[in-house]
């Protein structure tokens, strides 16, 4: 990777109002450009807001829709990561993140893990993404994750194995109360998640969370950057909108990977073998030791 300067755009999208949110994106993108950032990152569902329920099809955008075309236009000068509802072929609606650069869509990541428990109902609103790919950018190999994706350790691992050196994770993390000494509890949890993922994958992790309220949910903000040693190198305030520029020095990545050659030492053959065994067992495929021979003969 080359040195990156990334702008973290911690905003409070207006629920269901794509036009108003687009204007905020354009204004923040210009600010990031003035700060000489190479990339500006917006939170999950930054063009639509979170608690959409039946509004999902009403705010969904195709990749060639006007709002995304306008942002693509801006991306001739600065790369942009934006969160939106994708109206995909077959009218599957995905919670998606687009990486825009040089006037085009470089990559779209569709959220893999849709939380559908407790206060979350995403499995009802969205189709789940099924593909996870790192991709090349001007400044180096990159990957994107959306919120819950990061809670599954295999996501960051797969991106790193594919060569990602920077992982951009965007979120809509709500607060769940406070504790003496640690303040807003959810922010501490995200900090740990980011630090450990960065340390284990010896990669940069950029996390951009939203702020603002929807139906009593307060989103925490506290966007941050962790370096390949697992150190938090930039952190935005909780609860308030902010735009902060953070530097990702390529030198730190090289030094971390030289010091901790964890990726070099990954035993893909071991993982593959054990995974194959688990897969056979889970889906009762031939070759599973618990599988009867009679069934195998068929």
């Amino acid at each position: 990777m080359k040195d990156w300067r990334v702008a973290l755009a911690q905003i409070a999208p207006r629920l269901g109002d794509v036009d108003a949110n687009l204007e905020v994106h354009l204004a923040r993108t210009r600010s990031a450009l003035e700060d000489n950032a190479d990339l500006v990152v917006f939170p999950e569902l930054s063009l639509t807001g979170y608690h959409l329920a039946d509004q999902v099809p009403e705010v969904a955008l195709t990749r060639d829709s006007e709002p995304l075309r306008r942002l693509q236009h801006e991306s001739r000068e600065i790369d942009i990561v934006v969160g939106f509802v994708e109206d995909a072929p077959g009218h599957r609606f995905y919670n998606a993140a687009a990486y825009l650069s040089q006037g085009r869509v470089v990559h779209v990541h569709r959220k893999l893990y849709l939380p559908t428990y407790g206060m979350f109902q995403e499995g009802r609103e969205f189709a789940a993404g099924e593909v996870l790919r790192a991709f090349e950018t001007d400044r180096g190999p990159t990957g994107m994750l959306i919120c819950e994706d990061l809670w599954h350790p295999t996501s960051a691992w797969l991106l790193s194995q594919q060569g990602a050196e920077v992982v951009v994770a965007i979120g809509n993390g709500p607060t769940r109360g406070t504790r003496p000494g640690s303040g807003i509890t959810s922010i501490g949890v995200w900090r740990e998640l980011l630090r450990t993922n960065a340390q284990f994958q010896t990669s940069f992790f950029v996390f951009v969370n939203r702020v603002g309220c929807e139906d009593g949910l307060s989103f925490g903000g506290g966007s941050m950057v962790a370096d390949p040693f697992g150190r938090i190198t930039a952190e935005l305030p909780a609860l308030d909108e902010a735009l902060v520029v953070a530097d990702l020095p390529a030198e730190a990545l090289r030094r971390a990977r030289a010091t901790y050659p964890l990726l070099r030492d990954t035993n893909l053959e071991l993982v593959h073998r054990e995974l194959e065994r688990l897969r056979r067992r889970r889906y009762e495929l031939p070759g599973d030791p618990g599988h009867s021979e009679e069934e195998d003969i068929e």
């Binding site: 329920a53 509004q55 607060t175 406070t178 504790r179 303040g183 909780a238 609860l239």
Partner: protein
């Protein structure tokens, strides 16, 4: 920059821990009030001040969120209300510098009693709560304001409130805080001592006491609720942790029995898209 892990990662699961960070809780709640009021295109709230800790905390939060001039406090004593309650509420109004108004609901309530015949203390208490609701929603229309709710999580879970009375509001900043937690918040917000120290009372008749009526102290029931509700600890486990089977039974029963008070009315589904089932939009729909 920071290698500090804050000791234990602060998990979302509480395991019955009622402690809060009052400063950060205030930050969340004042932003909540400002955002929810702002998105309706309004600037003001109106709330009933009883002289108790719940409405005092709600008023403090609203004054910080919107500025004191945008918080209308309404004192609504009945003729049997404790004079101390009115005095404490007036002291809070002076401290906050908010506009206020006193509406004596005695004539409204007594007119109802006269028209409907004798009602017992419980029903009269409900009538008082609903008379106050009428005043607050009327003032909200007059002032282009939202009614700020003042029910706490303990009351809401136990059903200790009047449907369409004190349970009615547009937004409620304190409905996810137990009474015990509100006390911590009241200390942080510097609510007048007389309000912090008085025994909790619905003040529907002289010398009424919440804790006597409920049959347990707020400290005790809050610890139990935090385990049962927040941490989802099972019945047997909370008994093992020292709560009496009778109390667990009673509290569980009260939570279940009062579920209707926490929900909109049940609508019979006879169409393809019904409110509540498959017509699903957030309250903050497009605002």
């Amino acid at each position: 920059m920071s290698d500090d892990t804050n000791g234990q990662p602060a998990g979302a699961v509480t395991d019955g821990d009622l402690s809060i960070d009052p400063a950060w809780t205030t930050e969340i709640l004042t932003r909540f009030i400002a955002a929810e009021v702002g998105r309706t295109g309004k600037a003001k709230v109106v709330l009933g001040l009883s002289g108790g800790i719940d409405s005092a905390v709600a008023a403090e939060l609203a004054a910080r969120a919107l500025g004191p001039a945008n918080v209308k406090c309404v004192l609504m004593p009945y003729r049997t209300s404790s004079p101390n309650s009115v005095g404490d509420a007036e002291e809070l109004v002076r401290k906050l510098g908010t506009p206020s108004e006193t509406v004596d609901i005695s004539s409204m309530v007594d007119a109802f009693s006269q028209a409907s015949g004798e009602v017992g203390p419980l029903r009269l208490g409900n009538v008082m709560a609903r008379a106050r609701m009428i005043v607050l929603f009327d003032r909200s229309a007059d002032l282009d304001a939202l009614v700020l709710g003042t029910s706490n999580k303990t009351e809401l879970l136990l059903g200790y409130g009047t449907l369409h009375g004190d349970l009615a509001s547009a937004i409620n900043p304190i409905g996810d805080l137990y009474k015990t937690q509100l006390r911590a918040l009241a200390r942080h917000l510097d609510v007048p001592r007389s309000i912090q120290d008085k025994p909790p009372s619905a003040d529907l008749w002289p010398d009424q006491s919440d804790e006597e009526e409920l049959g347990f102290s707020y400290d005790e029931v809050d610890r139990l609720l935090a385990l049962l509700v927040d941490a989802r600890v099972g019945r047997d486990e909370v008994i093992r942790r020292g709560f009496s089977a009778e109390m667990v039974e009673r509290v569980t029963h009260q939570i279940v029995r009062s579920q209707f008070k926490r929900m909109p009315p049940v609508i019979a589904k006879v169409s393809s898209r019904s409110i509540g089932w498959d017509f699903r939009y957030p309250r903050d729909w497009l605002s």
